[in-house]
Subunit: 293 residues, 2 copies
């Protein structure tokens, strides 16, 4: 959710009864601080911050969420042992994102309060096991006894119920919220998602860090390079710096990196974030009442 | 289900109340005929035959299922227009296997009675879109109004319910039944599945036909070749002939091809096929009665 989930989206989701989340991965420390303060001013409800642990200035981000008394922190892309104790010591609820049952168990052992298990269909950075949400959730359920939040492939109330039938207590939705006016993603990117079809996303750059993105000119260069067997260093040069920002924030649909999940194929309209929360909840309740289609 | 699903497995599944299926992809025409006749003798219940339409002697297989009055035929890996009319003309129920909503709609237009939509997590041959079952089923549901059967990632009553919450009327399970005494798969292969862990299967050979298999020595050679950018022809030579038989039927775990789905990671015991059907149904009923975990 980099370049997508700032204070506007997070506060709108929280206001509607979800747990809105600020994605800190694309923010300088002072920018994160500003977003947290604006989010607090915009909603009286709890919200969360996602901290990718590989972020170069992660210690500054951690200081910021502690200083600002952010109630919930989701950590990802790193070792849950690194920061969990410090955050929990300050009364912060800590949730760690994993892509396998093995790391779910390690996260529980590291003392986190809950786990997000994210499947192969999710947008952006992704696990190397390529386990889909349908296969991942039952295995993680067996591996941990703390709360389990399913992610990847969830964009509706019915898919929310399906994930909970498999053993999750809740769900995390990203892609669906990129298609809201409150997301800071460029309108070109939002429109690209709305017009995208099945098979339009792909998990690429597996020799670096696997990332799910929409196929475009940039991806075609990557695919060609991968088919020719380029080593990681050369792929890294091709990727360069700032690709994600160029695509998702600046709206360069050809040369930018467009990270999004597989559910993008089923999204056909922009919708206010609060409405997404309410519609998802309504569909979930209806499906729970009548599970068979 | 090649080298796995002969008359023993099919009749055991049908006897227990499922729709057992003979996989014709690994059978010579006279072998298929023998399996159909033995299946009829072993069970009075309906069963099906799966016909991969790219099979070289497909016309002989079609003649066999018509002559033997097989009640249901599942067609896969090919154009549903090719044989549907002929089969239906003989009173056979025809179900076509797809991996996208687009081909589900084409199958409906071709006159099939139902569609199997199979996700990325499924074993063996797989679609190029890499859409997971969780994302695929809702899109296929929107695209067709004939019955929809979900496949890929389903190995329990809870995952069966999850697929039906997403819009399927039924499910097709393969991997779980390979781990039954009735499957003709080699015991080495069955034991390999029982000991396999998450991340142990991978979708490989995408330059030929994508196939999900267990990582072994043969796969390591493929992975190395793919990382080096070998063209399709050289990969085809590396694959050679008879790899699947060598692995799954003859039990050569190092040099054979071991096709299986991602749910293999969650399977820890061999179980009679009838018991699998009954346990799955019981868990499904329990989950339907109490959907939240």
């Amino acid at each position: 959710m980099i370049w997508a989930s700032g204070w506007r989206l997070a506060s709108a989701v929280s206001d509607a009864g979800g747990l809105g989340m600020i994605g800190a991965g694309s923010m300088y420390p002072h920018v994160l601080e500003e977003h947290i303060q604006k989010c607090k001013a915009a909603t009286g409800r709890p919200f969360a911050v996602n901290l990718p642990l590989l972020y170069p200035d992660i210690d500054k981000h951690v200081d910021t969420v502690i200083r600002e008394k952010v109630p919930v922190v989701f950590t990802s892309a790193g070792n849950p042992k690194a920061w969990t104790a410090k955050l929990k010591d300050k009364g912060i609820t800590v949730v760690h994102v994993v892509s396998s049952a093995k790391f779910a168990a390690k996260s529980q052992a590291a003392g986190v309060d809950a786990v997000v298990a994210e499947g192969f269909e999710a947008g952006g950075h992704n696990g190397r096991e390529e386990t889909t949400t349908l296969c991942l959730i039952p295995e993680v359920r067996k591996a941990i006894d703390i709360p389990l939040i399913a992610a990847g492939g969830i964009g509706s109330g019915r898919s929310m119920l399906a994930a909970m039938v498999l053993g999750a207590e809740g769900v995390q939705m990203g892609t669906r919220f990129v298609c809201s006016p409150e997301a800071s993603s460029h309108i070109n990117f939002k429109n690209k998602i709305l017009s995208s079809l099945e098979g339009d996303t792909v998990l690429a750059l597996k020799k670096l860090v696997p990332v799910r993105l929409i196929k475009n000119s940039f991806y075609e260069q990557v695919a060609q390079a991968e088919a020719e067997g380029w080593p990681a260093e050369k792929l890294s040069e091709l990727l360069g710096r700032g690709r994600a920002k160029r695509g998702m924030f600046e709206g360069n649909l050809e040369e930018g990196e467009l990270e999004i999940g597989q559910v993008s194929a089923g999204i056909s309209e922009l919708k206010p974030a609060g409405e997404i929360v309410r519609d998802t909840w309504a569909e979930f309740c209806e499906a729970l009442n009548k599970p068979l289609f």
